[in-house]
């Protein structure tokens, strides 16, 4: 299930979905928060963040990335924590971390898009995009002309783009 499905499920009372969301996102949230807060505060903020997600999952509008929405909640909880403990508000770089949040959401979308490619396209995509081989190298390994490789790569890029734009839905 991708993040948006998880949020929808959580809004319906699915606690297992919240656990999955926690396993996916708590790590990078903690990493980001730890740069500004002591460990026990990070724990408290994470706790309040996921409880807020549990209660507020119904208010999520599929406009931005899920990661960004979660980060917004975490930042708010961090500010609340700081106020409660009379500490200065942490400078949480809301814009910079949009990349971080986007990256994690993007990773899931990419995995799904890759999974949709058939075997030949998938193998080629892996060789060129992940193993970073040249088209000549890939052509030799697959025993096909380089021209064919180039046109297939063109098609692969189109497919991936379509899958990513078609939505995290």
């Amino acid at each position: 299930m991708d993040d948006q499905d998880l949020i929808a499920s959580i809004a319906g009372g699915d606690h297992i979905a919240l656990r999955t969301l926690f396993e996916r996102h708590a790590g990078w949230l903690a990493a980001r928060l730890r740069a500004h807060l002591p460990a026990h505060a990070v724990e408290d903020v994470l706790q309040e963040t996921f409880l807020a997600i549990w209660r507020g999952a119904g208010t999520y509008r599929a406009s931005g990335q899920v990661g960004g929405w979660i980060w917004g909640i975490a930042a708010r909880q961090a500010a609340l924590w700081a106020r409660k403990h009379s500490r200065p508000l942490p400078d949480l770089e809301l814009h910079g971390t949009e990349d971080m949040a986007t990256q994690s959401a993007l990773r899931v979308d990419l995995q799904r898009a890759f999974a949709r490619l058939d075997t030949d396209h998938g193998d080629l995509a892996r060789m060129v995009l992940i193993e970073d081989r040249s088209t000549a190298d890939a052509a030799q390994r697959m025993g096909i002309p380089e021209g064919t490789v180039k046109s297939r790569m063109h098609r692969i890029r189109r497919l991936l783009r379509a899958a990513l734009e078609g939505g995290s839905s």
Binding site: H15, L18, R19, A31, A39, V42, E43, L46, W54
Partner: protein
């Protein structure tokens, strides 16, 4: 990802706190009020989970007393005084004990002992039924003469329910003892002294009190059995 997951953050503890909140059912206002009143969430939970204090049971009691109110209003006979003691006795037979608690063995190893749980529930059931009876009396308008009188047979039937259920290890047997015992007393009183003597004749009250004490002692002695416990 440029940042690494911090090693000093206890994710297990965080999830345990979150799960603890989302897995637990919301505590009812009644239980929360009771916990505040008693200063103990444990005792509030013990009382709220009494089989004879669940909503369906309470509604049934209200219906029974409602019938009593209607009959008393029409006939002038003290039906509330007749019904309330039986409700309490049956309720107490079903409050706790080996016949009622499937996890009886485990309950006997708890810091809040099964005897403490039983006592708390008996008091709660008695109090709730006394309150319901009082309310019914006020509705009928015959409050003053009836309020104290039926509490005594109520105490006696409660002790009977407790003793019979403890002796037999079965709640239905305890309840049957209450219903039969009271039926015999009421019929006997009606035959020998006339009318609703069982609840109206003041001379019977000391006898009921004595019986209540004897039966309560029996119940206590039964719970003290050394062969199977402490």
């Amino acid at each position: 990802m440029s940042d690494h997951v911090p090693p000093d953050v206890d994710f297990g503890r965080v999830w345990a706190e979150v799960a603890g909140e989302i897995w637990s059912p919301p505590t009812g206002a009644g239980e929360r009020g009771l916990a505040w009143l008693l200063g103990s969430p444990a005792f509030a939970r013990v009382i709220v989970t009494t089989p004879s204090l669940v909503v369906s049971w309470l509604l049934a009691s209200v219906v029974v007393l409602g019938v009593g109110v209607v009959v008393t209003a029409q006939t002038g006979e003290p039906w509330i005084a007749l019904l309330a003691p039986v409700l309490a006795g049956v309720g107490i037979a079903f409050a706790y004990g080996p016949g009622v608690d499937p996890a009886w063995e485990l309950s006997r190893s708890m810091a809040i002992s099964e005897r403490t749980v039983l006592l708390s529930r008996v008091v709660a059931v008695f109090a709730v039924n006394a309150l319901l009876g009082l309310l019914a009396s006020f509705v009928v308008g015959d409050a003053l003469t009836l309020t104290l009188h039926w509490l005594v047979p109520m105490a006696m039937l409660s002790a009977l329910g407790l003793a019979a259920a403890s002796a037999s290890g079965s709640a239905p047997v305890g309840a049957a003892a209450v219903v039969l015992g009271w039926a015999l007393i009421v019929l006997g009183g009606s035959v020998s002294l006339g009318g609703m003597a069982a609840v109206q004749d003041a001379r019977l009250m000391p006898i009921y009190s004595a019986l209540a004490v004897v039966l309560a002692s029996v119940a206590l002695a039964l719970s003290n059995r050394k062969v199977t416990g402490w």
